[in-house]
Symmetry: C3
Subunit: 473 residues, 3 copies
């Protein structure tokens, strides 16, 4: 159990005191530090990345040995590269792994030899449509080798020459490395936060997601929460499958989850729904985006994507949602060398982090209350909760577009419109039947979940509400 | 039990024979008679109003003593005003309750003294945005006093002068007065019709609703009906809560209800939905408005409003709908002296009354039938129900926009489009599975409920249908 | 049992090998052969029609004797016509049944006499709005006689003359003839395909439907299928009712059905929904039309129509859908002599036939599978089901509008867009929970049912899927 339970399970759940500028600087440094590392499904690059992240947020590192059977899959041999290049016969390196780790197709087998252009060409990958970009390619389960290069460079190769090809790599039994941190909760519900750490020098996909995962973990470690959270950082597909096979029963009990990925691009936010489409995960994300009045791209569930396909497989059926900023597949630089640090920004990453935080905040604040005066409105005046002069007191309703602007919320919430306190009191009391959560109240009333929660807790202190049993804290 | 059961529980439910012009004249006289009376939560003004209404429709008057505990509330002292004014020190009355009862904030405590402008000013209410209007204000549960006046007049007050303030009022133990009439039914379902009688000289909100309530009660008393109806006329909020606390078990069994309020303005009809949004009450109102082809403003349920908040509170959860004409909150003269007899019209009130009647008619006619020939269409020819020559008989379907205009319905129904009799016969026979009500048939077929009912009763006389047991009459 | 069970209940269900041109020629010949025959509810014309169709597809012919009681109805006497005309007193035939069988109202009683114009006129039917067209009229259950003629001709009749009227017909005990073929299945579900054969020389309504019915029957007889199919060809209304009364228990077990009618006009396809509106029948038709990207007219269920009213009556409630091409009621020539062979085309009929076939194909292919690796995606690479180089493999998702055009489907499917095979594999594996049918997978994924089925069967051969028990074949 990696989480330090230094915080009592009481107290207010809130991200409000965060200083976003500091987080942005931190993200910026992490992006620069980690970008150059060559990561893949396995290998030292992954270990190095996770070790550096452990300095930011505490989590455990685990290894699954090569050859371990995971359902229909087997953990592959570990892959490490010392050097790789294509040179002409004078020894001049034309394509050099040391200049960009994207040049070598991931999981290329060791090789050293001289080959004709004709043979070499069958091992080359380039993008005619993006002639300056090096594409990202893998050959995980097909023992082969390949080089990726800018199409413009490819066209300069002498078609009549021979070439020296060297891949000084090892592909042998070792381990698949992943990170994990379990944060226990009191509500009986557990949520998954999973990202993938197997991509080499690609910034948006998915170094951005890895860093967001780490910062989000640290923030949740530092405050009380009702739900349990399972943070895992795995290589995509095989890592998620290995994790599922090692935690079958625990994973079957997970209520829902999030996969932060491609979260720092210059474009629009995106929201990919869970396979159910209307799960609580969908509702909290949708409400977060609505409260923030963000213009975003709506993606229905699709079978292509990240590890939601594994976590949502028939045996597990964990509904998984993703908030992205320039979603994978959708931006032209996807899986190329142009998905670099110039393409993304730490500011975009932190904006996405805010949305993940607000999403989790809504999961936390979705509490059910039971009215202690279910027969009518309570008498608010005698408790000092009502304006003293009546008659004009419903004016908030005259112009609802105005009534919701009283004040704004201090986290990521410059756009959040609060309603009148009287409206919040009335909605909360009216819906407090013991089984309706604040999420539903927010959806119905248009009031922010945070305001409803603060109001409900105030009414609880006045003895007008009780939490439904089992709602923790 | 106030309803005279002079009508047998048989016979046709219909409002068709009404003479609307006579009703409009009657409404006009009632508006003029009752407008000047000073009403509040309690007091002689309410009693006088109810006594005059009892001459129109028979109902019982009840009193709840001051100090009676009602759930979280207590019935307040009774408030009566003989006189109230602000005068200059020469004795000239500047603001005079006798000219408009809106000048005195409702429930102002007795007072007699000379005060500086500065002190007086803290007790004044005016509307800079509507400088000619006297606002309506209350101070029910905050022992204070206040005067309301036109902002233009307020600006003429000498800021250096002193003023004589007199409130010759009593605020002492007495009673809260309400009206009630129970009309028994045979269907086992009971519906509530509630309005509020606590507003002083304000025409649309809510003298119009009070008069509609009375006329609707009289019409229902004079004809047979399947459902039970509970008519109550109470001061808003505390009256509804007092009534609920005195009739807790009965009110828990109520199926749904209507609150006629603000029904005589010059603007559009409005429909505020029940808290469920799709209850039978919502459906009958929606169908009424659709059949009448009325352009109306759709209001979702909102926590602010009238007594639906009380009746729909968690313990009772009675779904309540409102049809309005210039809905409260929404017109600029709301809660000011400009909401007067010039603003509204008796004709508008009667148009709203028609809609309430048609709504109740649909509740009454929503009967379930069981086909006595469920195996196929019945042979209509041998019963004289079919045109003799075939081949062209489905022409009604060729142009559905025309087929629905054969004749119009005689109550409030100049716009109602009837379908062909053959269509009505077929729809009724097809849907007569013993559990589908005519409301659903109307929604599906687009045919008016009234036509379906008349047709079904005709088919019943031909032995082709039976009423499902428990459908009364 | 008319179906020759020469095909084993194994093997692929497919219409793909059909040669549409041959079918179109065949339809053309049948239209020309059968158009001139005088059909009605009963009589030799119906028998002759059915006998000729039996040469195309094998089915049984049955007779229900006149006078047989069928629920609320009685089978009428049989009607046969030798000759009928209106002549002037010189013997010149002005209106002659031998020129068009539409001239005589169906079920006109025998008559021979001289009548004044005035009397004759009460027996005449014409269409002022279509002055060149002979209308189609019947007098089935009203013992009368009538002649139908072009309005232009009617206006030329001498209003002062007398006329000889001869109806050399018999209306006497006989039989009501219908066709029937039951194709047994293994799935436990049975579907109805019913059309009506009672219209004289009218091409779209409904000789086209009768011929489509016959060709569809023949095709289903010639291939294996999971479901049982009940093909019946009856006179409209009384024939369907007679059939229901003779097969009450069998018909109660039918899952759904189709009524091919008016399927060969020059206009748009139409789809009339079942009375449920969202039954599996509605879904397979909707998907067929969507996959074909057809612009069609959507008709909600209506109580007027063909025999769906009988089959869907409360006791049976069989959901029935209809695909039409120039739907009855909706085209101006409906039920007139202008609904002739020039109005329709064999090509249009075959296009409709394709849609019925594709609809039935979807019923057949709506199989449920259970994943044999429900824990995650299966490892496709080791089975040769995955592209060897990764990284770019999700590009299909980059431009979904392109990814669905890989190849087209060979039956009626020039417009069907196939998705990538990898997408199909993933969707099928992901949804294979043992209870989700391929119809739902197609609706969710946008991939054609045919592709999903072919993919699923391939995965089954790889041992990755099993059919849910009871899914036949």
């Amino acid at each position: 159990m990696c989480a330090e339970d230094r915080l009592p399970n009481g107290g207010e759940f809130t991200f409000r005191e965060l200083v976003w500028e500091r987080l942005e600087q931190e993200a910026d440094l992490l992006l620069r530090d980690l970008f150059p590392i060559c990561r893949s499904l396995t290998g030292e690059g992954v270990r190095q990345t996770l070790r550096q992240l452990k300095a930011v947020a505490n989590f455990e590192m685990h290894e699954v040995p090569s050859g371990t059977k995971c359902f229909d899959w087997v953990v592959p041999d570990e892959w490490n590269v010392r050097d790789a290049f294509i040179a002409d016969l004078t020894g001049e390196r034309l394509v050099d792994f040391r200049r960009s780790n994207l040049h070598l197709a991931s999981y290329s087998v060791p090789f050293d030899g001289v080959v004709s252009f004709e043979e070499l060409d069958t091992h080359l990958h380039s993008l005619p449509a993006l002639p300056e970009a090096i594409p990202y390619r893998t050959t995980y389960y097909n023992r082969d080798w390949g080089f990726c290069l800018a199409h413009r460079q490819r066209e300069t190769l002498d078609r009549n020459a021979d070439y020296r090809v060297v891949i000084d790599a090892t592909l042998q039994p070792g381990g698949l490395t992943y990170g994990e941190c379990l944060l226990p909760g009191t509500s009986g519900e557990e949520y998954l936060v999973s990202s993938y750490c197997c991509h080499p020098s690609l910034a948006n996909d998915n170094l951005s997601g890895v860093i967001l995962w780490t910062l989000l973990l640290r923030e949740l470690q530092s405050r009380p929460h009702r739900h349990a959270y399972r943070f895992i950082l795995v290589p995509e597909t095989i890592g998620a499958i290995a994790y599922l096979s090692l935690h079958t029963e625990e994973m079957r009990r997970v209520s829902g989850g999030l996969i932060p990925t491609t979260v720092a691009g210059p474009g629009k936010f995106g929201f990919k729904r869970t396979y159910l489409g209307d799960h609580r995960i969908d509702r909290v994300i949708e409400l977060t985006l609505r409260e923030q009045r963000l213009d975003y791209v709506a993606y229905p569930f699709d079978i292509n994507g990240s590890d939601e396909t594994q976590y949502s497989a028939p045996f597990f059926r964990i509904p998984i949602g993703t908030i992205s900023k320039d979603k994978y597949y959708e931006y032209p630089f996807y899986h190329t060398s142009l998905d670099n640090l110039e393409f993304i920004s730490a500011g975009g990453l932190i904006d996405s982090l805010k949305l993940y935080m607000l999403t989790i905040e809504k999961l936390e604040l979705d509490v059910q209350y039971e009215s202690q005066n279910p027969y009518s409105e309570p008498m608010l005046g005698k408790r000092g909760l009502y304006p003293p002069t009546g008659g004009s007191i419903k004016q908030s309703a005259v112009d609802p577009s105005k009534s919701h602007h009283d004040r704004t919320y201090s986290i990521g919430g410059d756009n959040v419109a609060y309603g009148s306190e009287l409206d919040a009191i009335r909605w909360v009391m009216f819906t407090a039947d013991g089984s309706t959560g604040l999420l539903e109240v927010a959806e119905t009333s248009g009031l922010p979940v945070r305001q409803l929660y603060d109001t409900a807790e105030n009414l609880r202190r006045h003895g007008l509400l009780q939490r439904t049993a089992g709602q923790g804290r």
